[in-house]
């Protein structure tokens, strides 16, 4: 058997000119992702194509499954067998994966799912960008739940936040939804590839004995992960189960405990999970909240506003879920108006409204692009109109 190569043999540390989807692959491989199962779908296919090329060289496993349902279940199985596992898809495929994601939530299985957002519903526009899956990422499954969803906005972030996604999945034993839109997935940019030895990996905690709590447990704690094949005789089930995995579907107290554990292990740790950035301008009465590719347009609008001497603040949620609601509320303290530009009919604006609770007026600058992005000019002229009316 020949010796496997490393990620840096393929992508040496330093600057590369890469598509966002390719950067996500490098991020996953740097995060020690060793299993990929997927099904082709535009605009995510580059991720799968490159995984097929690289994983066999790196001692990993690539398999193209018969559909997205099989793909999500295969990565759940591989995760239980001990490997960091990934799949990537887009709208229609993401819809098919929802039941599997629910299974992963209930069984506390760490997985990372990339949904490169395209125009929907239905087949929509396969090659065009949209931000319509934001609530689907949050609520796509039946039942009460919390997940983590990350929205990158550049090729560099496709790499960096992919590593973060794997760490969070393992740390909290939860599916992490990685939510770039098509523009972020396909835009080619300069990306700095780190040395693999300098990448921080936060691994799962293994149980020290077969008598530990494998599921549920204290509301704010994450139980250790009992990998299959290590003698733990683990019972994995997405039916209501007790801390050892035994089904207890008729017992209200068991379900109550489990449901609150699944929700609270994220909610009570939100301070450690939530990620955002702020461009604060003293004296600004108007602010923008934007994510994904629209954040890039908003940032450009913010730069131009600054040049023109306009006072404008900018908030950017990186974890869409759990949402930076406390931070958004604080952001609203000094503002009269918050503008939420989005490439949809106005979806995340609802979360912003919930977060700021009327402290500032929240306006949706929504656009059904139908293939067109939100341009900086559109955002800036809307900002100016709002400022004139203050």
């Amino acid at each position: 058997m020949q010796k496997y190569i490393s990620v840096n043999d393929i992508y040496p540390p330093g600057k590369h000119f890469l598509m966002g989807n390719e950067a996500a692959v490098i991020g996953a491989l740097l995060a020690n992702c060793k299993f990929y199962a997927g099904y082709p779908i535009t605009p995510s296919s580059e991720i799968m194509n490159l995984m097929a090329k690289y994983l066999p060289l790196l001692g990993g496993v690539f398999i193209q499954m018969e559909d997205e349902i099989a793909s999500i279940m295969a990565i759940i199985g591989a995760s239980w067998a001990g490997l960091r596992s990934l799949t990537a898809t887009s709208g229609p495929g993401f819809s098919l994966m929802q039941e599997g994601i629910g299974y992963a939530i209930m069984t506390e299985t760490p997985i990372v799912v990339i949904d490169v957002m395209r125009v929907g519903p239905g087949t929509g526009q396969a090659t065009k960008a949209a931000q319509g899956d934001v609530m689907q990422a949050r609520w796509g499954r039946h039942g009460d739940q919390e997940i983590i969803a990350i929205a990158p906005s550049s090729a560099q972030e496709m790499l960096d936040f992919m590593i973060l996604a794997f760490n969070l999945a393992d740390q909290y034993r939860v599916p992490v939804i990685f939510l770039p839109d098509e523009i972020v997935g396909h835009a080619e940019e300069i990306v700095s590839v780190p040395n693999m030895n300098e990448v921080e990996i936060v691994s799962r905690i293994e149980p020290s004995s077969a008598n530990e709590v494998f599921f549920g447990g204290a509301p704010d704690k994450v139980p250790p992960f009992p990998t299959l094949g290590k003698g733990f005789n683990v019972l994995v089930t997405a039916s209501t189960h007790n801390e050892m995995g035994y089904r207890r579907t008729q017992d209200p107290e068991t379900h109550r405990k489990l449901a609150w554990h699944l929700v609270n292990k994220i909610r009570l740790n939100r301070g450690k999970i939530v990620k955002f950035s702020i461009e604060h301008v003293d004296g600004a009465r108007v602010g923008i909240v934007a994510y994904g590719s629209v954040y890039r347009a908003a940032k450009e609008a913010w730069v131009r506003a600054k040049k023109e001497g306009l006072k404008l603040s900018l908030f950017r949620p990186i974890t869409l879920w759990p949402s930076p609601d406390v931070e958004l509320s604080r952001f609203a303290d000094e503002l009269d108006v918050i503008i939420v530009p989005e490439l949809n009919t106005g979806i995340y604006v609802q979360e912003v409204e919930r977060a700021v609770k009327g402290k500032a007026k929240v306006l949706s600058l929504n656009k059904i692009g139908g293939g067109l992005p939100l341009y900086p000019e559109e955002i800036l002229s809307f900002v100016k109109k709002v400022m004139r009316e203050l």
Partner: protein
């Protein structure tokens, strides 16, 4: 209780906490478990390194929670892709799928076909009780023509799947079908299958006395008699043909093709050679 009789498999292969099991009287599930555990005991001597994957339905409860091993109880229809992920992530494990006809042949039918096409290194045990027992006895893709179920109260207008033949043509390395009235033959096929690589498929016809038998027959004995008298071994069937109402049983095929894991391992070697040549 000092005079309590405990079967030697309890504590070794079966979880003591879940005994006695909750299957219906006359159900074939635990007889199949018995034949399977006897086979494992003979071939491996323990459940070490075994992982069981099952879907939704009565048969899925054979391993989960009864087997004292790693058991993964998954979504309806999805044990095969889950098992595929487990096996590929850790090829050292013996991964066995045990589930019902509704789970593996209806909602999960596509996965079953593709696992056979890939010759994935899994042992798949399909417990065929001709209906959906857990949800109240509805039509399954294996329900015999004109048989009655709660959703075909006037008779089943559809043709049943011959899942074993399907597996032969899809490329499985080993395919067998037995009934609950052929326990020793079943155990022998399990033993053979446990020693092989690639996809091994064993279908077991099993009674559902609570649902299917009530809708169609006088009593359980009638079904067991049917299993004994209306079955024909595949070797005989291939020579003499099959009469109407006869069910073909036996070992349908035994191939020595390499399993997916072996092919993938060779593929990685090939990939590295190509990489180094550049």
């Amino acid at each position: 209780m000092s005079n309590e009789k405990i079967h030697p498999y309890v504590g070794k292969y079966l979880r003591k906490e879940v005994m006695p099991h909750g299957m219906c009287p006359g159900c074939g599930n635990m007889s199949i478990a018995n034949a399977f555990i006897r086979a494992v005991d003979k071939v491996y001597g323990s459940f070490e390194n075994f992982v069981f994957v099952s879907g939704i339905g009565c048969a899925a409860w054979i391993p989960s929670p009864h087997f004292l091993a790693d058991t993964v109880h998954v979504l309806h229809g999805r044990p095969i892709p889950t098992a595929t992920g487990i096996k590929l992530a850790n090829p050292e494990l013996n991964v066995v799928v045990i589930s019902g006809d509704g789970d593996l042949a209806a909602i999960g039918g596509n996965h079953l076909i593709h696992a056979a096409r890939r010759n994935m290194d899994l042992l798949v045990i399909l417990v065929n009780n001709f209906n959906y027992g857990m949800t109240g006895g509805q039509l399954a893709p294996t329900t015999l023509k004109m048989a009655r179920t709660i959703t075909t109260p006037y008779g089943n207008p559809e043709n049943p799947f011959d899942v074993a033949e399907l597996m032969v043509y899809a490329g499985a390395n080993f395919v067998a079908r037995w009934t609950i009235a052929h326990i020793l033959q079943l155990q022998n096929s399990f033993e053979k299958a446990l020693k092989m690589e690639g996809l091994r498929f064993v279908e077991v016809l099993s009674p559902c006395p609570t649902r299917y038998v009530r809708w169609n027959l006088e009593d359980l004995q009638q079904l067991l008699n049917f299993f004994r008298t209306n079955t024909i071994n595949v070797k005989v069937a291939r020579e003499k043909g099959v009469k109407e109402n006869q069910i073909v049983i036996g070992e349908f095929i035994e191939r020595k093709n390499p399993g997916f894991v072996r092919i993938y391992t060779d593929l990685c070697e090939r990939a590295l050679t190509i990489w180094r040549r550049k």
